[in-house]
Each structure stands twice: as structure tokens, then as C-alpha cells.
Symmetry: C2
Subunit: 409 residues, 2 copies
């Protein structure tokens, strides 16, 4: 082999270009927010733990911090509080510009703010980074309380129920007995539904967009390929990469996981309209294996971008939490679980969503009603696929706002 390497290396048609293994230069091993980084708009709730926080999966945490942001002012009777729950790679920064401490602008910036649909002159809006995340809440990239390193692979498996329990503690700390509404899209919708089942008396309205009552086999299949992509990256080092020098983190694996999910987040139509078969390099000359079409450059861009601001271990944990999402688990079935929900449910589905197909959002409505509850369906008619809940704000707002205004009967 060595002989061939020497002889043929320069003429190789299959030899990969540098972008195949991105960020080999100065990038920290994790994109996680780390104590000492700019706080940005973050606030922190350090959970009082006189005893360990025992997770649904059996793990224990001796130290739990939740990073969150708020917009607006809590009314004296605490009646105007709205909890917004973020999706897989979101964080507490639901509104506001990018800047120090916030690598991205608010993921629902068009929806949340003064004079915006979710008007923060009226509502007190809260968004918390999920447990297991990487933007300030306790997660694999957090300092381990018992030694100088990070948790890394010793961070236990978390579930939506664990995440919601920390959010309930946050509600306590904020003085919110009952949310006017809990709202979320995708993984955020899973949290919203768990809120309704776990704390029916603490939530007056539920909004789930492009979500599900339980992960389907296909959803598990997609997320599991992402986990295997990270594990395939030798720089993942079984999850112990935090002390690796710059450029030596599992960026390529995380990027590949993102690339796969990015395809599921969009749609055939949008890819055709936006990229078609446009090549980056002309196809008129010599054809090479690693030449790209524009759609590949787009995927590479999104993969690289996520790996700069996310943590590979958090990606593993949170995709697993989504796969484990099942309102029915341990509750005597789905109907029994849904019977606990007292809040009216607004379920929104996206016509072109290939990851959380619209039928799941329609089934949620049918199932809630079958369990004796109240639910309505709103269709987001969009070509943008799953990501429409982050793009088609006006359609989201058109259903969300009247739902928030409607008095509970």
C-alpha cells in the first residue's frame, strides 16, 4: 500500500478535498457554551439539590443548572406567562439578535418581541435551554462536579420528562403556577405535550407544531443514523474530546449527522427550486468524484455551521431523548396518558413535512378528542418541509394568536 501511496497519490481521482473534514484548524473541540463565555441574555437557575436529581432513565445528577431567557414582564398575578420550548439544536435564545454569547439570532425572533405576534409587551415569554443541551444548561459539556473535567459520556440519558421536570422547577423559581400556554415545535412540541400530561394543572393551553405523541420507527431510524455518524468520527473519542486541541473535536461526525437531518428538515420541491442540478464546478471539464453540486455545498455549509455552535455529545443525548419520546410509556397506553391533559391542544402540521408528517399532527387531535379532551388542527401549507415551523412565522402566528386569546371554557 505504501508503494501505491507514493506512486499514485498525486493523480488520484478519488482523493478527498479539504472540506470533507472541515475545521481542521482552530475550532474548539465543542461548540458548547462554557462557563466564562459571554452570558448574552442568559439567566441561570441552579436547582437546589439537597438530594440527587434522579432521571427517568435511572441516572442521577448532583448538580443541575438551567439556562433560560425571558422577555416581557410577569403580571402581578402571574397570569401572562408563556413557555416556549426549543427544538433539537435550538436553545434559550428564542428572540433577539446574534451577538456575544449567542451564536445565532433568536430562532423565533419574528414571532416573539414587542409588537410581534407573541407580543412581549403583553406576555411574559420564557425559553430554557433543555437539560442535556449545550448552551448553558447542564449537559455533557458541563463541568463535572466531582472532578476537573466535563461530564462527557458520563452524563446520563435524559428524556422529555426529565427536561419538563426541570422546566417545572424553573416555573417555581419564576413564580409561575400555571403557564398561560406551553408552546413548541418538533422536539419543543414533545415537551409541550409532556407538560400537559405531567402537570395538567400547571398549563392552560398547549401548542405542538410538527411534533408527535411518540417517535415513529422512521424517526428513530433517521436520528440513529446521526448518532452513528458521530460515533464513526475518530475524533469523537467515545465522547471524551473536550480536552482535545483546537480542530480535533468531532466536527466532521456532527456535521454529517446534521447533513442527514438537514435533508429530512426540507423537501424535494424546495431543493429542486433552490438548487436543481446546479454544479459548483462546471461539468464540462474533467469529472471528479468530489466535485459538488450546489445542494452538496449547502449541506456541507449547514453541517459545518452546526458543528461550530453545538456539542456532539448533546446531539447524541437529545436525539436519543426524541427517540425515547412516548407519551404512553409507563402510563397504561396513549389514551390513558392523554386523558390527563386538561388543556385545550392546538396541533399544527406542515403539508410538506417528511420528518414529522402531517398525519401525526392530525392523529394527535383525534387522539386527544378520543380521550375526552379538546384539540384543534391547523395546517401550515408550506413547501419548506419540517423547518416551516421556523420559517413560515405568519402561518404559525395566524393560528397561535387567536388560540392564546381564546378564553378557556
Amino acid at each position: 500500500m505504501e508503494q501505491n501511496d507514493t506512486h499514485w497519490a498525486d493523480t488520484s481521482a478519488l482523493a478527498p478535498p479539504p472540506w470533507l473534514h472541515p475545521h481542521s484548524s482552530t475550532l474548539p473541540a465543542t461548540g458548547a457554551w462554557t462557563p466564562g463565555d459571554p452570558l448574552g441574555q442568559r439567566q441561570f437557575m441552579k436547582m437546589a439539590v439537597d438530594r440527587p436529581f434522579v432521571l427517568e432513565g435511572g441516572g442521577q445528577l448532583h448538580d443541575v443548572t438551567i439556562a433560560f431567557e425571558t422577555w416581557g414582564t410577569l403580571a402581578p398575578d402571574a397570569s401572562n406567562a408563556v413557555l416556549v420550548c426549543h427544538a433539537l439544536t435550538g436553545d434559550s435564545h428564542a428572540s433577539g439578535p446574534a451577538g456575544a454569547g449567542h451564536p445565532t439570532p433568536g430562532w423565533w425572533d419574528d414571532l416573539i418581541g414587542p409588537g410581534r405576534p407573541l407580543d412581549t409587551e403583553r406576555w411574559f415569554v420564557v425559553c430554557a435551554n433543555v437539560l442535556g443541551g449545550c448552551q448553558g444548561s447542564s449537559g455533557p459539556a458541563s463541568p463535572h462536579p466531582d472532578h476537573l473535567g466535563r461530564y462527557g459520556p458520563d452524563f446520563p440519558v435524559v428524556t422529555m420528562r426529565d427536561i419538563v421536570r426541570t422546566q417545572a422547577r424553573l416555573a417555581d423559581a419564576l413564580g409561575v403556577d400555571r403557564w398561560h400556554a406551553v408552546i413548541g415545535g418538533s422536539m419543543g412540541g414533545m415537551q409541550a405535550l409532556e407538560w400537559g400530561v405531567m402537570y395538567p394543572e400547571r398549563v392552560a393551553r398547549l401548542v405542538a407544531v410538527a411534533s408527535c405523541t411518540a417517535a415513529s420507527a422512521q424517526q428513530i431510524a433517521w436520528w440513529s443514523t446521526g448518532r452513528r455518524a458521530i460515533a464513526l468520527d475518530p475524533k469523537w473519542r467515545n465522547g471524551r474530546y473536550y480536552d482535545a486541541p483546537p480542530g480535533e473535536g468531532p466536527h466532521a461526525g456532527l456535521a454529517l449527522a446534521r447533513m442527514v437531518s438537514q435533508v429530512t428538515f426540507r423537501s424535494d420541491d424546495v431543493f429542486t427550486d433552490r438548487f436543481g442540478r446546479e454544479p459548483v464546478e462546471s461539468l464540462a471539464g474533467r469529472l471528479e468524484l468530489w466535485q459538488r453540486f450546489e445542494v452538496e455545498r449547502y449541506l456541507d455549509h449547514h453541517g459545518a455551521k452546526l458543528s461550530r455552535r453545538f456539542d456532539a455529545n448533546s446531539y447524541l443525548l437529545l436525539t436519543k431523548a426524541m427517540d425515547l419520546h412516548d407519551l404512553a410509556r409507563g402510563r397504561g397506553g396513549l389514551r390513558a396518558a392523554l386523558k390527563r391533559i386538561t388543556a385545550p391542544v392546538l396541533s399544527m402540521g406542515i403539508t410538506s413535512d417528511i420528518l414529522y408528517p402531517e398525519y401525526q399532527q392530525r392523529e394527535l387531535v383525534t387522539d386527544v378528542i378520543a380521550a375526552g379532551g379538546s384539540a384543534t388542527f391547523h395546517e401550515i401549507d408550506s413547501p419548506h418541509g419540517h423547518d416551516a415551523f421556523l420559517i413560515d412565522h405568519q402561518q404559525v402566528a395566524a393560528a397561535l394568536i387567536p388560540f392564546l386569546e381564546k378564553p378557556r371554557t
Copy 2:
């Protein structure tokens, strides 16, 4: 990090199980058929090359071998010859049992054989391993003519047109002036369509199942994630892995590429019906990151299975060939290309196909007719997704057989 590794390794919740990096034992570095392996039913055509075989992409081959199989007897007037073209991970073994030299049973075994729909007592059926493949035809795993090693990454980019040109040479060698039909599904359908455009006088009927006139952006996106999975595997070694010891080939990368494509080959419905949320290990005990649901075990199984019988560099080359597939390229547009087709076209689409959606097969019919040709559409109503062309033989046969019988007008 070293300290943590020592201290925490045994308690790690994220630590990966052995199946994450499969085949670390005795598996050859490539699953390719290699000279010296049992021939099975293979025959070989060594192309007479008095000058180099120049590929569409500009590469040159000084030595081209095509492995093929035949069933039935060629009629004296050579009028009963049918060419069947295989899909990405297929090979010349379209019919017959698995056995020495053939890791899998014929991929259309239920369709091809004596008394079967494509009756080999009547038809002379031919299937050739594609150029760039790994089951006997020249490809990256083939011995390089100029040195003792294999081509590896020095094998040039191939296109559908190159593949079809070698098949035309095979037709010459077999004494077939004109195929009664050229038939293929998925990548095989791309070849069939190229046959119609490149050699209109040499093909009397064309059948394309679950294929396309040009790869869409979404298709390119899917295949490109597979290529990146292989490149991410450190054992891929930039394509020079053939001399690696057993267990040191890029099996994990190839397996991951297959896992992603396996999801696109099937459907949400079938995954739900077959796997649902069934876990491999009970979810009642402690939850661990690398516990699997049955659908994950299924994907792992298919990934591992392919990596035992395929070659990672062939996977790179052939997925690139599919991405480059575009009947219109260099021909003044799609209509001009389709105008060259004189054979009637039978286009079959699968209702649940998420990879090559049915609308593409319907568009093919519209486009051929718009170009002045003759085309008919047949719908395969199946929940099995793209793979239905390999599963729902009766539906394929129901349209295929009358089409073959119909005299050309």
C-alpha cells in the same frame, strides 16, 4: 483527558457497544469479488482495447473487463435478447441462488427463470455487472494493469453513459444487434433510458422502474451523505484500503452509508408496521444511549450485510454516477435527448417511493410523449417504498410481460 479515561471509562453511559464499529475481526478490507474467487455463474468479456477506453468524464482505462450472466438461449436471429440492468448494490446475479461466488440470491430471481414471468425458455436474458462495480467488472477493487495493487482511488469517475457503452460492447460480443428490451429499476432504469438515447436503433423496448431522467437535488443530497459517511471512516484511508489486514477496511463507513439509504429505500408505513417502537432491550430498566430499538438493529444488520459484499470505493463511484445522471447533459436539453428515443417506453412508479418519487416516473411519460415518442405509465401500488421494485414482483410482471409481448407498431 487521560485521567478521565482511566477514572470514568467503566461507568460511562455513552460508551459505545461493539456493534457500532462492526466487523473488527476477520472481514476482508473489501467485499468485492476478486480474481481467484469462485466464478459462480459469471462469464467475462475482456474488451479488446487497442486504444484506451476514454470515459465521459475524461478518465481513461487501458483494460476493461465486464462480468455478466445469461439465462436461456439466444435465438438464431438474435431476436429474443433482453438486457436487465442492475441497481446500485446489485450485480450480474439477477437470477439464481446464492452460493460460491454469489453472496446473494438473484435480485430478480422471482421474475427471471424457466416458467417465471421473464421466461428464460423463451427469452435470452443478460445482466452485466456495471463498470465501476465490484462483482467482476472493472472497478476500483480491480487489479491495476500497471502495478501490483488495485486501482483504488485512481479509478476514474464513470457515468451511466460509460456503463451503457460497455454494455453495447457486450451486446456486440454476444451477437445481439438489437435488444428486444432493456429493463432496469432505479440505477438500472437510468441505464435503460441512456440505452434509448445513445443507441436508439439497438433497443426495441425500454422499461424504467422507479428511476428518473436526471437526479434531483434531493437525490444528490441523499447519495452525497453516503459518500461522506465512507470518507469519515478513518479506515477508508482515502480509498487505499485494499492491503489493510482483515477487519481494517472501511466497513463502518460503508455500513452507515447503507443505513441512510436503507431508510430512503423503505417507507414510514412499512417501518411502523414492521418495527413500531419495539426496543431490543426493555425500556423498563436503566436507559442507556446505545440501547437500540428494533428498527436500529434492522439498519445495523443491513449496513453490516452490505459491507460484507460490497466495496466502499464502488459505492462512492456509483452513487456519483447516479448524481451525474442527466439525459439532457450535452444534448441540447431533455426534449432533444428524448427525441432520440425510438423505442416505446414503459415507466413504472411506486406509490410509496420517497427516493425516486412516483411523479418522476409520470413526468418521464409526459416528457417522452412531448418529444414525439411513445410511453405508458404503470403504477406499482405498494407500501414498500423504493424497494418495491425488488419486492412486488407480481406487480412489476403484470405490466412488464404484456409490454414485452406487444408488437412494435
